[in-house]
Protein backbone atom coordinates (compact mmCIF):
# COMPACT_ATOMS: atom_id res chain seq x y z
CA UNK A 1 0.00 0.00 0.00
CA UNK A 2 2.73 2.48 1.01
CA UNK A 3 4.81 1.53 -1.98
CA UNK A 4 1.89 2.27 -4.33
CA UNK A 5 1.39 5.66 -2.70
CA UNK A 6 5.11 6.33 -3.01
CA UNK A 7 5.17 5.40 -6.68
CA UNK A 8 2.17 7.60 -7.47
CA UNK A 9 3.78 10.49 -5.55
CA UNK A 10 6.95 10.06 -7.60
CA UNK A 11 4.85 10.06 -10.78
CA UNK A 12 3.10 13.28 -9.73
CA UNK A 13 6.40 14.93 -8.77
CA UNK A 14 7.87 14.05 -12.15
CA UNK A 15 4.90 15.58 -13.96
CA UNK A 16 5.02 18.73 -11.80
CA UNK A 17 8.67 19.03 -12.75
CA UNK A 18 8.27 18.47 -16.50
CA UNK A 19 4.77 19.42 -17.66
CA UNK A 20 4.79 23.25 -17.07
CA UNK A 21 7.90 23.74 -19.19
CA UNK A 22 6.46 21.50 -21.93
CA UNK A 23 3.20 23.49 -21.91
CA UNK A 24 5.08 26.78 -21.96
CA UNK A 25 7.14 25.72 -24.95
CA UNK A 26 3.96 24.30 -26.60
CA UNK A 27 5.59 20.92 -27.28
CA UNK A 28 2.44 18.85 -27.76
CA UNK A 29 4.08 15.79 -29.24
CA UNK A 30 6.61 15.64 -26.41
CA UNK A 31 3.80 15.93 -23.88
CA UNK A 32 2.02 12.93 -25.40
CA UNK A 33 5.11 10.74 -25.44
CA UNK A 34 6.00 11.88 -21.92
CA UNK A 35 2.52 11.04 -20.56
CA UNK A 36 2.38 7.62 -22.20
CA UNK A 37 5.83 6.69 -20.91
CA UNK A 38 5.09 8.00 -17.44
CA UNK A 39 1.79 6.09 -17.16
CA UNK A 40 3.53 2.98 -18.44
CA UNK A 41 6.30 3.43 -15.89
CA UNK A 42 3.92 4.01 -12.99
CA UNK A 43 1.76 1.00 -13.89
CA UNK A 44 4.81 -1.20 -14.32
CA UNK A 45 6.22 -0.11 -10.95
CA UNK A 46 2.91 -0.74 -9.19
CA UNK A 47 2.64 -4.20 -10.73
CA UNK A 48 6.17 -4.94 -9.59
CA UNK A 49 5.48 -3.71 -6.06
CA UNK A 50 2.39 -5.97 -5.89
CA UNK A 51 4.68 -8.87 -6.91
CA UNK A 52 2.66 -9.58 -10.03
CA UNK A 53 4.68 -11.43 -12.69
CA UNK A 54 5.73 -9.12 -15.49
CA UNK A 55 6.77 -10.99 -18.65
CA UNK A 56 10.51 -10.87 -19.05
CA UNK A 57 11.61 -9.36 -22.39
CA UNK A 58 14.64 -11.63 -22.40
CA UNK A 59 12.46 -14.76 -22.65
CA UNK A 60 10.99 -13.39 -25.86
CA UNK A 61 14.48 -12.70 -27.23
CA UNK A 62 15.62 -16.19 -26.27
CA UNK A 63 12.83 -17.65 -28.39
CA UNK A 64 13.51 -15.36 -31.33
CA UNK A 65 17.24 -16.01 -31.35
CA UNK A 66 17.11 -19.77 -30.78
CA UNK A 67 17.90 -20.81 -34.40
CA UNK A 68 20.79 -18.34 -34.81
CA UNK A 69 22.08 -19.25 -31.38
CA UNK A 70 22.12 -22.97 -32.19
CA UNK A 71 23.86 -22.26 -35.47
CA UNK A 72 26.68 -20.23 -33.89
CA UNK A 73 27.39 -22.67 -31.10
CA UNK A 74 27.13 -25.78 -33.26
CA UNK A 75 29.68 -24.37 -35.68
CA UNK A 76 32.08 -23.53 -32.86
CA UNK A 77 31.79 -26.83 -30.99
Amino acid sequence: MWSILGIITVGILISIYEVPSLLRRKLKRELWVFSILLIFGVVLSILKSLRIDIPNPLDLLTNIYKPLNDFIFDSLK
Binding site: R25, R29, L37, G41, V42, P57, N69, I72, F73, L76
Partner: protein
Protein backbone atom coordinates in the same frame (compact mmCIF):
# COMPACT_ATOMS: atom_id res chain seq x y z
CA UNK B 1 18.49 21.54 -29.57
CA UNK B 2 20.33 18.31 -30.29
CA UNK B 3 23.24 19.56 -32.32
CA UNK B 4 24.69 22.26 -30.11
CA UNK B 5 26.90 20.03 -28.01
CA UNK B 6 30.34 19.03 -29.25
CA UNK B 7 33.11 17.01 -27.66
CA UNK B 8 36.78 16.78 -28.61
CA UNK B 9 38.43 13.67 -30.01
CA UNK B 10 40.43 13.21 -26.81
CA UNK B 11 37.21 13.19 -24.78
CA UNK B 12 35.81 10.69 -27.25
CA UNK B 13 38.76 8.38 -26.59
CA UNK B 14 37.91 8.47 -22.89
CA UNK B 15 34.32 7.53 -23.64
CA UNK B 16 35.54 4.64 -25.82
CA UNK B 17 37.81 3.33 -23.06
CA UNK B 18 35.09 3.66 -20.42
CA UNK B 19 32.55 1.93 -22.63
CA UNK B 20 34.97 -0.82 -23.57
CA UNK B 21 36.12 -1.50 -20.02
CA UNK B 22 32.66 -0.95 -18.53
CA UNK B 23 31.28 -4.17 -17.18
CA UNK B 24 33.93 -6.27 -18.80
CA UNK B 25 36.70 -5.64 -16.31
CA UNK B 26 34.78 -7.29 -13.51
CA UNK B 27 32.79 -9.92 -15.39
CA UNK B 28 34.80 -11.00 -18.44
CA UNK B 29 37.60 -12.94 -16.67
CA UNK B 30 35.01 -15.29 -15.14
CA UNK B 31 33.11 -15.89 -18.37
CA UNK B 32 36.30 -16.41 -20.34
CA UNK B 33 37.77 -18.78 -17.78
CA UNK B 34 34.60 -20.86 -17.76
CA UNK B 35 34.80 -21.16 -21.54
CA UNK B 36 38.51 -21.56 -22.24
CA UNK B 37 40.04 -22.56 -18.86
CA UNK B 38 43.68 -21.45 -18.52
CA UNK B 39 43.75 -20.12 -22.10
CA UNK B 40 41.41 -17.26 -21.19
CA UNK B 41 44.15 -14.70 -21.75
CA UNK B 42 44.74 -16.10 -25.27
CA UNK B 43 41.04 -15.75 -26.03
CA UNK B 44 41.26 -12.16 -24.78
CA UNK B 45 44.12 -11.42 -27.20
CA UNK B 46 42.25 -12.99 -30.12
CA UNK B 47 39.17 -11.02 -29.12
CA UNK B 48 41.18 -7.80 -28.98
CA UNK B 49 42.68 -8.43 -32.42
CA UNK B 50 39.24 -9.19 -33.87
CA UNK B 51 37.90 -6.00 -32.29
CA UNK B 52 39.93 -3.83 -34.65
CA UNK B 53 38.07 -4.86 -37.82
CA UNK B 54 34.80 -4.20 -35.96
CA UNK B 55 35.87 -0.70 -34.94
CA UNK B 56 37.14 -0.19 -38.48
CA UNK B 57 33.64 -0.99 -39.76
CA UNK B 58 32.19 1.55 -37.30
CA UNK B 59 34.71 4.13 -38.50
CA UNK B 60 33.82 3.37 -42.09
CA UNK B 61 30.13 3.75 -41.30
CA UNK B 62 31.04 6.96 -39.47
CA UNK B 63 32.34 8.30 -42.81
CA UNK B 64 28.85 7.95 -44.23
CA UNK B 65 27.06 9.45 -41.24
CA UNK B 66 28.44 13.03 -41.57
CA UNK B 67 26.25 15.00 -39.22
CA UNK B 68 23.66 12.34 -38.39
CA UNK B 69 23.34 9.90 -35.56
CA UNK B 70 22.90 6.22 -36.31
CA UNK B 71 19.12 6.52 -35.90
CA UNK B 72 18.74 9.39 -38.36
CA UNK B 73 20.97 7.58 -40.82
CA UNK B 74 18.97 4.35 -40.56
CA UNK B 75 15.83 6.25 -41.46
CA UNK B 76 17.51 7.99 -44.36
CA UNK B 77 18.95 4.79 -45.81
CA UNK B 78 16.18 2.26 -45.16
CA UNK B 79 13.22 4.54 -45.83
CA UNK B 80 10.71 5.85 -43.36
CA UNK B 81 8.83 2.79 -42.12
CA UNK B 82 11.51 0.12 -42.26
CA UNK B 83 13.93 2.68 -40.86
CA UNK B 84 11.66 3.45 -37.93
CA UNK B 85 11.21 -0.26 -37.24
CA UNK B 86 14.96 -0.86 -37.21
CA UNK B 87 15.48 2.27 -35.10
CA UNK B 88 12.94 1.10 -32.55
CA UNK B 89 14.62 -2.29 -32.26
CA UNK B 90 17.98 -0.55 -31.82
CA UNK B 91 16.46 1.60 -29.06
CA UNK B 92 15.12 -1.57 -27.46
CA UNK B 93 18.63 -3.05 -27.64
CA UNK B 94 20.14 0.01 -25.93
CA UNK B 95 17.43 0.08 -23.29
CA UNK B 96 17.66 -3.63 -22.47
CA UNK B 97 21.41 -3.26 -22.20
CA UNK B 98 21.22 -0.39 -19.78
CA UNK B 99 18.73 -2.39 -17.70
CA UNK B 100 20.99 -5.45 -17.59
CA UNK B 101 24.01 -3.32 -16.71
CA UNK B 102 22.00 -1.71 -13.95
CA UNK B 103 21.10 -5.17 -12.68
CA UNK B 104 24.80 -6.04 -12.56
CA UNK B 105 25.53 -2.89 -10.53
CA UNK B 106 22.73 -3.72 -8.10
CA UNK B 107 23.79 -7.34 -7.90
CA UNK B 108 27.41 -6.38 -7.23
CA UNK B 109 26.56 -3.86 -4.53
CA UNK B 110 24.05 -6.08 -2.75
CA UNK B 111 26.15 -9.26 -2.83
CA UNK B 112 29.61 -7.83 -2.21
CA UNK B 113 29.47 -4.44 -0.51
CA UNK B 114 26.11 -3.62 1.12
CA UNK B 115 24.19 -6.88 1.63
CA UNK B 116 21.55 -5.28 3.88
CA UNK B 117 20.37 -2.69 1.35
CA UNK B 118 17.53 -3.84 -0.91
CA UNK B 119 18.45 -3.92 -4.59
CA UNK B 120 15.60 -1.54 -5.50
CA UNK B 121 17.28 1.27 -3.60
CA UNK B 122 20.78 0.77 -4.95
CA UNK B 123 19.34 0.69 -8.47
CA UNK B 124 17.24 3.79 -7.87
CA UNK B 125 20.18 5.73 -6.44
CA UNK B 126 22.33 4.76 -9.37
CA UNK B 127 19.62 5.70 -11.86
CA UNK B 128 19.30 9.18 -10.34
CA UNK B 129 22.94 9.84 -11.25
CA UNK B 130 22.40 8.35 -14.70
CA UNK B 131 19.39 10.62 -15.26
CA UNK B 132 21.38 13.65 -14.15
CA UNK B 133 24.15 12.73 -16.55
CA UNK B 134 21.89 12.18 -19.52
CA UNK B 135 19.94 15.38 -18.88
CA UNK B 136 23.12 17.44 -18.72
CA UNK B 137 24.14 16.04 -22.06
CA UNK B 138 27.14 14.47 -23.68
CA UNK B 139 29.42 17.49 -23.33
CA UNK B 140 29.18 17.52 -19.54
CA UNK B 141 29.64 13.76 -19.41
CA UNK B 142 32.75 13.95 -21.54
CA UNK B 143 34.25 16.69 -19.36
CA UNK B 144 33.54 14.71 -16.20
CA UNK B 145 35.21 11.81 -17.97
CA UNK B 146 38.37 13.87 -18.34
CA UNK B 147 38.49 14.26 -14.57
CA UNK B 148 37.71 10.61 -13.78
CA UNK B 149 39.87 8.98 -16.46
CA UNK B 150 43.26 9.46 -14.74
CA UNK B 151 41.80 7.85 -11.62
CA UNK B 152 40.64 4.82 -13.56
CA UNK B 153 44.02 4.33 -15.23
CA UNK B 154 45.95 5.16 -12.04
CA UNK B 155 44.03 2.73 -9.83
CA UNK B 156 44.37 0.04 -12.48
CA UNK B 157 48.16 0.40 -12.78
CA UNK B 158 48.69 0.47 -9.01
CA UNK B 159 46.58 -2.65 -8.48
CA UNK B 160 48.39 -4.56 -11.20
CA UNK B 161 51.79 -3.69 -9.70
CA UNK B 162 50.63 -4.78 -6.26
CA UNK B 163 49.46 -8.10 -7.69
CA UNK B 164 52.85 -9.05 -9.16
CA UNK B 165 54.16 -10.92 -6.08
CA UNK B 166 51.14 -13.23 -6.09
CA UNK B 167 51.46 -14.50 -9.64
CA UNK B 168 52.30 -18.10 -10.45
CA UNK B 169 53.27 -18.93 -14.02
CA UNK B 170 52.35 -22.62 -13.59
CA UNK B 171 48.67 -21.66 -13.52
CA UNK B 172 48.53 -20.75 -17.22
CA UNK B 173 50.20 -23.98 -18.34
CA UNK B 174 49.58 -25.93 -20.52
CA UNK B 175 49.10 -23.17 -23.07
CA UNK B 176 46.66 -23.71 -25.94
CA UNK B 177 45.35 -27.00 -24.57
CA UNK B 178 41.80 -26.64 -25.88
CA UNK B 179 42.34 -25.86 -29.54
CA UNK B 180 41.32 -23.03 -31.80
CA UNK B 181 37.53 -23.41 -31.73
CA UNK B 182 37.25 -23.06 -27.96
CA UNK B 183 39.45 -19.99 -28.12
CA UNK B 184 37.33 -18.48 -30.88
CA UNK B 185 34.27 -19.05 -28.73
CA UNK B 186 36.04 -17.27 -25.88
CA UNK B 187 37.04 -14.45 -28.22
CA UNK B 188 33.43 -14.06 -29.30
CA UNK B 189 32.41 -13.83 -25.65
CA UNK B 190 35.09 -11.20 -25.05
CA UNK B 191 33.89 -9.15 -28.01
CA UNK B 192 30.24 -9.50 -27.07
CA UNK B 193 30.96 -7.77 -23.76
CA UNK B 194 33.22 -5.08 -25.12
CA UNK B 195 33.83 -4.16 -28.75
CA UNK B 196 30.48 -5.15 -30.25
CA UNK B 197 28.66 -2.98 -27.74
CA UNK B 198 30.59 0.06 -29.01
CA UNK B 199 27.96 0.39 -31.75
CA UNK B 200 26.07 2.67 -29.35
CA UNK B 201 28.89 5.21 -29.68
CA UNK B 202 27.72 5.83 -33.27
CA UNK B 203 24.94 7.83 -31.64
CA UNK B 204 27.67 10.32 -30.63
CA UNK B 205 30.32 9.73 -33.26
CA UNK B 206 30.66 11.61 -35.59
CA UNK B 207 27.65 13.90 -35.04
CA UNK B 208 28.84 15.34 -31.73
CA UNK B 209 32.58 15.39 -32.37
CA UNK B 210 34.60 18.51 -33.14
CA UNK B 211 37.05 16.89 -35.53
CA UNK B 212 35.60 13.56 -36.72
CA UNK B 213 38.70 12.73 -38.78
CA UNK B 214 40.91 12.75 -35.69
CA UNK B 215 38.30 10.89 -33.68
CA UNK B 216 38.69 7.86 -35.97
CA UNK B 217 42.24 7.33 -34.77
CA UNK B 218 41.23 7.83 -31.16
CA UNK B 219 38.40 5.30 -31.61
CA UNK B 220 41.02 2.66 -32.46
CA UNK B 221 43.39 3.86 -29.76
CA UNK B 222 40.64 3.76 -27.14
CA UNK B 223 39.81 0.21 -28.20
CA UNK B 224 43.46 -0.75 -27.80
CA UNK B 225 43.73 0.75 -24.30
CA UNK B 226 40.44 -0.78 -23.12
CA UNK B 227 41.27 -4.16 -24.64
CA UNK B 228 44.70 -4.22 -23.02
CA UNK B 229 43.15 -3.41 -19.64
CA UNK B 230 40.75 -6.34 -19.89
CA UNK B 231 43.47 -8.61 -21.24
CA UNK B 232 45.77 -7.78 -18.33
CA UNK B 233 42.94 -8.28 -15.83
CA UNK B 234 42.10 -11.68 -17.33
CA UNK B 235 45.76 -12.73 -17.39
CA UNK B 236 46.24 -11.77 -13.75
CA UNK B 237 43.03 -13.49 -12.67
CA UNK B 238 44.35 -16.70 -14.17
CA UNK B 239 47.88 -16.18 -12.88
CA UNK B 240 46.82 -15.45 -9.32
CA UNK B 241 43.54 -17.31 -8.79
CA UNK B 242 43.81 -20.11 -11.34
CA UNK B 243 41.15 -20.76 -13.99
CA UNK B 244 38.93 -22.88 -11.77
CA UNK B 245 38.49 -20.31 -9.03
CA UNK B 246 38.16 -17.48 -11.57
CA UNK B 247 35.35 -19.29 -13.38
CA UNK B 248 33.47 -20.01 -10.16
CA UNK B 249 33.18 -16.35 -9.13
CA UNK B 250 30.70 -13.88 -10.56
CA UNK B 251 33.11 -11.00 -9.95
CA UNK B 252 36.59 -12.57 -10.15
CA UNK B 253 38.53 -9.29 -10.39
CA UNK B 254 37.06 -8.21 -7.07
CA UNK B 255 38.20 -11.44 -5.41
CA UNK B 256 41.54 -11.07 -7.19
CA UNK B 257 42.25 -7.69 -5.65
CA UNK B 258 41.40 -9.07 -2.21
CA UNK B 259 44.54 -11.21 -2.59
CA UNK B 260 46.80 -8.15 -2.45
CA UNK B 261 48.86 -8.29 0.72
CA UNK B 262 52.02 -6.22 0.88
CA UNK B 263 54.12 -6.91 3.98
CA UNK B 264 50.97 -7.58 6.03
CA UNK B 265 50.35 -3.85 5.82
CA UNK B 266 48.64 -2.97 2.55
CA UNK B 267 45.53 -5.13 2.39
CA UNK B 268 41.82 -5.01 1.50
CA UNK B 269 42.27 -3.01 -1.68
CA UNK B 270 39.01 -4.27 -3.20
CA UNK B 271 37.22 -0.96 -2.65
CA UNK B 272 39.69 0.55 -5.12
CA UNK B 273 38.61 -1.75 -7.93
CA UNK B 274 34.98 -1.24 -6.99
CA UNK B 275 35.55 2.51 -7.43
CA UNK B 276 37.18 1.97 -10.80
CA UNK B 277 34.39 -0.29 -11.91
CA UNK B 278 31.56 1.94 -10.71
CA UNK B 279 33.06 4.84 -12.69
CA UNK B 280 33.38 2.84 -15.90
CA UNK B 281 30.00 1.12 -15.64
CA UNK B 282 28.38 4.49 -14.94
CA UNK B 283 29.68 5.68 -18.29
CA UNK B 284 28.51 2.54 -20.03
CA UNK B 285 25.00 2.78 -18.60
CA UNK B 286 24.72 6.50 -19.20
CA UNK B 287 25.80 6.19 -22.83
CA UNK B 288 23.32 3.37 -23.45
CA UNK B 289 20.55 5.26 -21.71
CA UNK B 290 21.42 8.47 -23.53
CA UNK B 291 21.53 6.53 -26.81
CA UNK B 292 18.13 4.97 -26.16
CA UNK B 293 16.46 8.26 -25.22
CA UNK B 294 18.09 10.38 -27.89
CA UNK B 295 17.18 7.65 -30.38
CA UNK B 296 13.58 7.56 -29.22
CA UNK B 297 13.29 11.34 -29.45
CA UNK B 298 14.73 11.32 -32.95
CA UNK B 299 12.57 8.44 -34.15
CA UNK B 300 9.43 10.19 -32.94
CA UNK B 301 10.65 13.56 -34.33
CA UNK B 302 10.71 15.25 -30.94
CA UNK B 303 12.55 18.53 -30.39
CA UNK B 304 13.89 17.70 -26.96
CA UNK B 305 14.88 14.39 -25.41
CA UNK B 306 15.06 15.64 -21.81
CA UNK B 307 11.37 15.22 -20.87
CA UNK B 308 11.68 11.51 -21.64
CA UNK B 309 14.52 10.83 -19.19
CA UNK B 310 12.54 10.62 -15.95
CA UNK B 311 9.69 8.35 -17.15
CA UNK B 312 12.18 6.13 -18.97
CA UNK B 313 14.27 5.94 -15.80
CA UNK B 314 11.22 4.65 -13.94
CA UNK B 315 10.70 1.92 -16.52
CA UNK B 316 14.43 1.20 -16.47
CA UNK B 317 14.40 0.48 -12.74
CA UNK B 318 11.50 -1.99 -13.03
CA UNK B 319 13.04 -3.73 -16.04
CA UNK B 320 16.38 -4.01 -14.25
CA UNK B 321 14.61 -5.78 -11.37
CA UNK B 322 12.80 -8.34 -13.50
CA UNK B 323 15.34 -8.87 -16.27
CA UNK B 324 17.31 -11.63 -14.56
CA UNK B 325 15.32 -13.73 -12.06
CA UNK B 326 18.56 -15.25 -10.73
CA UNK B 327 22.29 -15.53 -11.39
CA UNK B 328 21.98 -18.86 -13.23
CA UNK B 329 19.54 -17.28 -15.68
CA UNK B 330 21.92 -14.36 -16.13
CA UNK B 331 24.89 -16.63 -16.83
CA UNK B 332 22.97 -18.77 -19.31
CA UNK B 333 21.63 -15.70 -21.08
CA UNK B 334 25.08 -14.05 -21.24
CA UNK B 335 26.78 -17.08 -22.72
CA UNK B 336 24.02 -18.00 -25.20
CA UNK B 337 21.33 -15.64 -26.51
CA UNK B 338 23.24 -12.49 -25.65
CA UNK B 339 25.86 -13.28 -28.31
CA UNK B 340 23.56 -13.49 -31.37
CA UNK B 341 21.59 -10.54 -29.93
CA UNK B 342 24.64 -8.31 -29.77
CA UNK B 343 25.91 -9.60 -33.12
CA UNK B 344 22.65 -8.49 -34.76
CA UNK B 345 23.13 -4.89 -33.72
CA UNK B 346 26.89 -4.71 -33.36
CA UNK B 347 27.84 -6.39 -36.63
CA UNK B 348 24.90 -7.14 -38.93
CA UNK B 349 23.17 -3.76 -38.60
CA UNK B 350 26.21 -1.65 -39.62
CA UNK B 351 27.02 -4.10 -42.42
CA UNK B 352 23.43 -3.94 -43.68
CA UNK B 353 23.46 -0.14 -43.58
CA UNK B 354 26.76 -0.02 -45.46
CA UNK B 355 25.58 -2.48 -48.13
CA UNK B 356 22.30 -0.62 -48.69
CA UNK B 357 24.13 2.72 -48.78
CA UNK B 358 26.57 1.42 -51.40
CA UNK B 359 23.78 -0.13 -53.51
CA UNK B 360 21.79 3.10 -53.43
CA UNK B 361 24.71 5.04 -54.86
Amino acid sequence: MFKKQKISHYQFKILVVMCFVGTSILVTPGGLAAETKQDAWLAAIIGLLLSFPIVWIYNFLGNHLYNMTLIEYTEKVLGKWLGKLVSLSFIFFCFINSASLLYIVGDFVTTQIMPETPIQFTNTLFVIVVVMGSRLGIETLARAGEILYPWVIGIFIILIFLLFPNTDIKKIQPIFEHGIKTNLRGALLFMSYSSLTLIVLLMIFPAYINKPQKAKKTFLRGTLIGGLMIFIMTLFSILVLGHDFTARNVFPSYILVKKISLADFLERMEAAIATLWIITIFYKIVIYFYGAILGLAQTLNLQDYRPLTLPMAMILIVISLIIYPNVVYANTWNSTTWIPFVLTFGLFLPLLLLIVAVLRK
